[in-house]
């Protein structure tokens, strides 16, 4: 079972299997599909109740598409998503309106996601009102939620989005997402547009909300420090696939996939005496229209061998993993894969990790 939560909880809050979305590129006079963008190409993962799953990967690797598939804002081509053990939009399963009550999303662009003609109070109250809550109750809820996200209700309830700073708008977005008491919050680059001093405030808020309300987060970000800060487990995506997933300690201390290692090494040093001297990777990420055969990372991978072109590595338990629930899709992580750096079949758990060997001190 690849990608199962490490906690071993009986039923994951969210379980995703074989999720896939290819977008057509239309061309010619008849506007027929001439190619397909493999935005999300068959991914499996699960999220345990109360945990935070961080999602990282470069631009275009499919993070937002995954989020939109989970919310059913776009329909998947294939795959199943189960919420609390119930399939979504299937007979006997969980319906879309129920799903969107339990699962809410906060986006990066705090301005575009707010209606400029609604006051803060009406913004927060509109979803509960739409679900049949009495107007007075919905307004009281808006008042309480605003206080909850750290905005003085008396000062902010009557304001419009253009009268708010970026950090204040993002707090309103979070309050709105909480209005239906969801169990799972998907945060798609939710702090990325904020200044550092304000980002810290919103991260503190997210930690508090999680403690107080027992929320589960899927936290999508390109900032690896912030993902390490907030996540229990981390999922690394590359060109529409999951290349590595595991406990945050495993991903940051013992990355098993060369791409994860390169991403981590690409972070600026934060120490003027230990500046980066060599770029960990060369070139740009390839195009998700025609991804490379075999391992999708092989065109940028310094460890690539013939087997990497010939066969696609499956996302499976890392050979000799020090952490439970650590999975990677690399031939080097699989005993007997045919890669020269893979452990021999039946080798013990103490084989050296080729990806971290020679790591920066």
């Amino acid at each position: 079972m690849s990608g199962a939560p490490a906690s071993g909880a009986a039923v994951p809050l969210l379980a995703v299997e074989g999720l896939k979305k290819h977008f057509p590129i239309l061309g010619g006079l008849l506007r027929r599909p001439v190619a397909w963008v493999q935005a999300v190409d068959g991914i499996d993962f699960a999220v345990a109740p109360g945990e935070t799953l961080g999602v990282v990967g470069e631009s275009g690797c499919g993070k937002s598409t995954t989020a939109r598939l989970l919310m059913h804002l776009v329909a998947p081509d294939a795959g199943t998503v189960r919420f609390g053990g119930r399939a979504i939009n299937a007979p006997g399963g969980i319906g879309l309106s129920e799903l969107r009550r339990q699962m809410q999303m906060v986006f990066q662009d705090s301005y575009a996601s707010l209606n400029p003609r609604l006051t803060v109070a009406d913004t927060i109250a509109s979803a509960p009102a739409g679900h049949g809550m009495k107007r007075a109750d919905a307004q009281r809820l808006a008042h309480d939620l605003l206080a909850r996200v750290g905005l003085e209700p008396a000062l902010f309830l009557r304001r419009y989005p253009h009268e708010l700073s970026g950090g204040q708008r993002q707090r309103v977005n979070i309050a709105r997402a909480l209005a239906l008491s969801p169990r799972l919050l998907i945060l798609d680059e939710a702090v990325s547009a904020l200044d550092k001093s304000v980002e810290a405030q919103v991260l503190n808020l997210l930690l508090d909300l999680k403690d107080d309300l027992g929320l589960t987060y899927i936290f999508i970000s390109h900032d690896l420090n912030v993902v390490q800060f907030i996540s229990d487990r981390v999922m690394v995506m590359y060109l529409g696939r999951v290349v590595e997933i595991g406990p945050v300690e495993a991903i940051y201390a013992e990355p098993a996939h060369p791409y994860t290692r390169a991403l981590l090494d690409s972070m600026p040093a934060m120490d003027p005496d230990r500046r980066t001297t060599e770029p960990p990777l060369s070139g740009d990420p390839p195009n998700p229209i025609n991804p490379p055969s075999g391992c999708r990372f092989r065109t940028r991978c310094t460890f690539a061998e013939a087997v990497c072109t010939a066969r696609e590595p499956a996302l499976d338990t890392v050979a000799g993993a020090k952490f439970a629930g650590h999975h990677a899709a690399c031939h080097m992580a699989r005993a007997g894969s045919g890669h020269s750096k893979a452990p021999a079949p039946g080798a013990g758990g103490d084989s050296a990790n080729p990806v971290t060997a020679g790591a920066r001190p």
């Binding site: 550092k196 001093s197 420090n225 800060f229 690409s266 600026p268 120490d271 980066t276 060369s282 740009d284």
Partner: protein
């Protein structure tokens, strides 16, 4: 790489003194730079670090006089290689832009015209500033593309901007900027929109080119990590002023201004795990209604009545260091 300007008595390449900039808007003039002073030595990299709206881009654009003069009020002085930039005629100014002073920025798409190949645009830029033949300019463009490590330079020069990947376009823009041998490169967040693995490639490339050409660079960023990778000195901006300036090590390791301290304290770093951050309360001030005295006072944990009485004068706690805070230690 270099000592702070003045330390060795050499004339700085660029000196910005008492720079004030105000924009006229529907509600009157808004002061966005409120007295910016710094000097840049030859071959030095200065990073302007600060949050959104602190005046980093306006500082760069004012050095090149890119703002609409009808809507902008500028006072103070900008001296570049002995010239009084704010007093130059329009012709001399356009020779300076893209000649001795080059600018690169976040979105390379706006540096290139989408309807011409990138090679054609570089050749034209070279020939606008220098009387050389088409063939010589093309040869120079090929050499520049090699310098910025673009594989198959001849083929890439014939490409249109949209045919290049993000990282490649950024390299092409750097080549365009270097085409007339500038002595000063103004870089406005050139890596902010790039992916992590591409950003570090471009930073390392800029660092190498800076050393090879002995360029002076003003690098604008809001990312402390990026500043740490590239800067000799850091100038921290807040609400249109430089509140702290010093060698990168001092600013990163022993920041003196409470804002710099707060910024470093609230930045999530490698290895930090879910515990509450020491966030700076509140938000940056509205420039149209700046608080009196130190602009940071409303958010500062150490504020006292003296802070709001007058704007703190810059203090030099050590040679090459500067801080605008009443609590700063004297040298």
């Amino acid at each position: 790489m270099t000592d702070a300007p003045g330390a060795n008595g050499a004339e700085p390449l660029l000196a910005v003194e008492g720079l004030h900039v105000a924009f006229h808007g529907p509600d009157g003039a808004v002061e966005v730079l409120n007295g910016v002073d710094f000097a840049l030595a030859r071959g030095e990299v200065l990073c302007l670090l600060g949050e959104s709206g602190s005046g980093k881009s306006v500082t760069l654009r004012t050095i090149l006089r890119l703002h609409n003069p009808k809507r902008t009020r500028v006072s103070g002085a900008v001296r570049f290689a002995g010239q009084d930039v704010l007093g130059l005629g329009e012709r001399a100014m356009s020779q300076l832009r893209g000649g001795d002073i080059a600018l690169i920025f976040q979105e390379p798409a706006t540096a290139f015209d989408p309807v011409y190949s990138v090679g054609r645009q570089i050749v034209e830029t070279i020939r606008r500033h220098k009387s050389v033949s088409e063939a010589a300019a093309w040869a120079r463009a090929v050499e520049l593309f090699q310098r910025v490590q673009i594989p198959s330079p001849e083929r890439r020069l014939r490409a249109y901007p949209h045919e290049l990947s993000g990282g490649m376009r950024q390299r092409a823009m750097i080549a365009l900027a270097l085409s007339c041998n500038p002595s000063l490169l103004l870089a406005d967040e050139p890596t902010t929109a790039l992916d992590a693995t591409v950003q570090i490639q471009i930073l390392l490339l800029l660092r190498r080119l800076q050393q090879e050409y002995g360029l002076s660079v003003i690098f604008v960023s809001h990312d402390i990590g990026v500043a740490t990778e590239i800067a000799d000195r850091i100038a921290v901006m807040y609400a249109g002023r430089i509140v702290e300036m010093g060698p990168v090590r001092e600013v990163i390791r022993a920041p003196l201004h409470p804002y710099t301290q707060g910024l470093l304290g609230s930045t999530v770093r490698k290895g930090m795990r879910a515990r509450r951050l020491n966030a700076i309360p509140g938000a940056p001030p509205n420039l149209a209604a700046l608080p009196p005295g130190c602009s940071f006072a409303p958010r500062c944990p150490h504020a006292e009545p003296r802070c709001t009485a007058a704007v703190p004068e810059p203090i030099a706690p050590a040679p090459g260091q500067l801080v605008r805070c009443i609590r700063a230690p004297l040298a």
